[in-house]
């Protein structure tokens, strides 16, 4: 399975798990935006994981 197929499968299973449907053309649009959503999550994770700066450091 390539990454697009993997993303498609992830997307379908997550929405199905919460009982929300999606039309095929919408699924395609969501799939196109999904890599950027993953990037946002990665950016947030990296920021969360940064070492805590000591209080008072400028």
């Amino acid at each position: 399975m390539d990454s697009t197929q993997e993303n498609e499968a992830t997307l379908a299973s997550r929405l199905e798990a919460v009982g929300v449907s999606i039309a095929p053309d919408e699924a395609e649009e969501l799939l196109a935006a999904y890599p950027a959503l993953l990037a946002w999550m990665r950016i947030a994770q990296e920021l969360a994981d940064e070492p805590v700066e000591p209080a008072g450091e400028k």
């Binding site: 997550r14 950027a36 990037a39 947030a44 940064e50």
Partner: protein, 470 residues
């Protein structure tokens, strides 16, 4: 002699003085405002609903009370309006899903404004559920920018920006999750104020992302915005987000200027994505603040715009999708395409990623607090681009969820929770307004508003109006 018909661009406080002195009648003022709405709203789309009869009844009551000396305060007898996310009469959140719904209870902020004697003239246009960009093909026609009606007024409090900028209300209340009060203020050339989180009750306001949502006023001056804030602020035990710690703030507290004020400019955060026309207006505003005696210095934040917007959006999409889940299940086609897709994207965020975004938010708060330990306020443009043309139909989701987002510098204050205000700082060569944003320490709203007021008085941009709607 000034007649009510000539007052539509006057400041709220100026009109308030005239009402109190009985030089102008609240009834005549309300009639003039309603007539202007009737004449211009078909072209500007600021209002979804106008409460003409009720507003006139409120104005008559205000007139009688003022006549017998029972003046309630600065908004007594003043026509104002609320974004259609506040529960009050027909309440749609700009979504066909809620079209025809009438609120059973009034939002607490509306009741507080009513208690202050405000004349509530109507409900204002919004992006769907305060998120999806308005388009020309929407169920509700989009509000239009008074400076160029083919462009967006900025959102999501679209109608609030338009109503205040075009003289269709003397003040308005919007909501602000990532900038939705300050962005329309910047694009429409008016003032938008997001108070410290928890100072204005959100009870009865349809949520977008509860941990980031704020209520806030839009007005034609900083003093007017302060008066609107003062009329509705205060702890509300019916809103779990309402802060027990509150502040007292009135327009008279805005005097004092900026001499000696330390203003930090986080260029690493805003500069890379900013359009030259916006930057030029902002730099001119900074120079003016410096001339006025402020100490303006670079203040590297150590955060990129993308980091801040990514964290803001991951939190917003997740919280909004959780709230909307019942609607998405029962009415999968009930909402507009962009909003429905954005909510489905929110459902794709795993719990662990949401929790990571909350931890990242804490890091952002820490960095902003460190800057605000060195500086009294931080200054940046409100938004790094000029108002876009209104899109013909729903924008592709990849326009919103992208690693190259539209530069909205407003998200920083929502994540931090402290006060932020957008004041006009001039027109770009295209004839479109640009906003200066000042943000500050939580509960130190007074310093931010004082600086904005001083700038506004010195620069004079608060008087600028589109000549399309004389």
């Amino acid at each position: 002699v000034t007649t009510a018909n000539q007052l539509h661009y006057a400041s709220l406080l100026e009109v308030s003085d005239q009402l109190r002195a009985r030089e102008v009648s609240p009834v005549e003022l309300t009639r003039a405002t309603l007539a202007r709405i009737e004449r211009l709203n078909p072209r500007l789309g600021a209002y979804y609903t106008v409460f003409a009869e009720q507003a006139l009844a409120e104005a008559r009551q205000a007139e009688a009370e003022i006549a017998k000396g029972a003046w309630r305060g600065p908004i007594h007898g003043i026509p104002i309006a609320f974004k259609d996310l506040y529960s009050l009469g027909p309440t749609t959140a700009g979504s066909r899903l809620l079209a025809g719904q009438v609120a059973k209870h009034e939002a607490a902020a509306v009741s507080r404004a009513r208690a202050g004697g405000a004349v509530i003239v109507g409900k204002l246009a919004t992006h769907e559920f305060a998120m999806a960009a308005a388009t020309l093909s929407d169920h509700f026609p989009p509000a239009r920018n008074p400076w160029d009606p083919d462009r967006t007024p900025g959102g999501s409090s679209t109608g609030a920006g338009v109503a205040v900028a075009a003289g269709l209300a003397f003040g308005a209340f919007g909501t602000d999750t990532g900038g939705s009060v300050r962005l329309p203020a910047a694009h429409c050339g008016v003032v938008g104020y997001k108070p410290t989180f928890g100072l204005i009750t959100l009870a009865g306001v349809i949520p977008l992302a509860p941990s980031l949502d704020h209520a806030g006023p839009l007005a034609r001056s900083v003093a007017d915005a302060t008066a609107l804030f003062a009329a509705v602020c205060g702890h509300d035990p019916n809103d779990s987000r309402s802060s027990v710690r509150q502040i007292a703030l009135e327009p008279k507290d805005l005097a004092g200027g900026v001499r000696g004020l330390r203003i930090g400019v986080p260029r690493d955060f805003w500069e890379p994505a900013c359009e030259p026309a916006v930057r030029e207006r902002f730099e001119t505003a900074l120079a003016r603040l410096e001339e006025m005696g402020a100490q303006v210095m670079d203040a590297p934040l150590g955060l990129t715009l993308l980091q801040v917007m990514a964290v803001g959006y991951v939190i917003t999409l997740t919280e909004a999708a959780a709230y909307q889940l019942p609607n998405l299940r029962s009415h999968p086609d009930g909402v507009g395409r962009e909003f429905g897709l954005a909510m489905r994207a929110g459902l794709l965020v795993p719990d662990a990623a949401y929790r990571a975004a909350l931890r990242a938010r804490a890091r952002i708060v820490g960095r902003v607090d460190r800057m605000l330990a060195r500086f009294d306020v931080l200054a940046m443009p409100t938004v790094g681009v000029l108002a876009d043309p209104l899109p013909p139909g729903p924008r592709p989701l990849s326009r919103r969820i992208t690693e190259n987002p539209a530069p909205q510098y407003t998200w920083l204050a929502n994540l931090h929770g402290g006060p932020a205000v957008s004041v006009p700082c001039g027109l770009a060569p295209e004839g479109l307004p640009v906003g200066l944003q000042l943000m500050g320490r939580s509960f130190d709203d007074a310093t931010v508003l004082r600086a904005a007021h001083a700038y506004e008085e010195a620069a004079g941009w608060g008087q600028m109006r589109s000549d399309l709607w004389p």
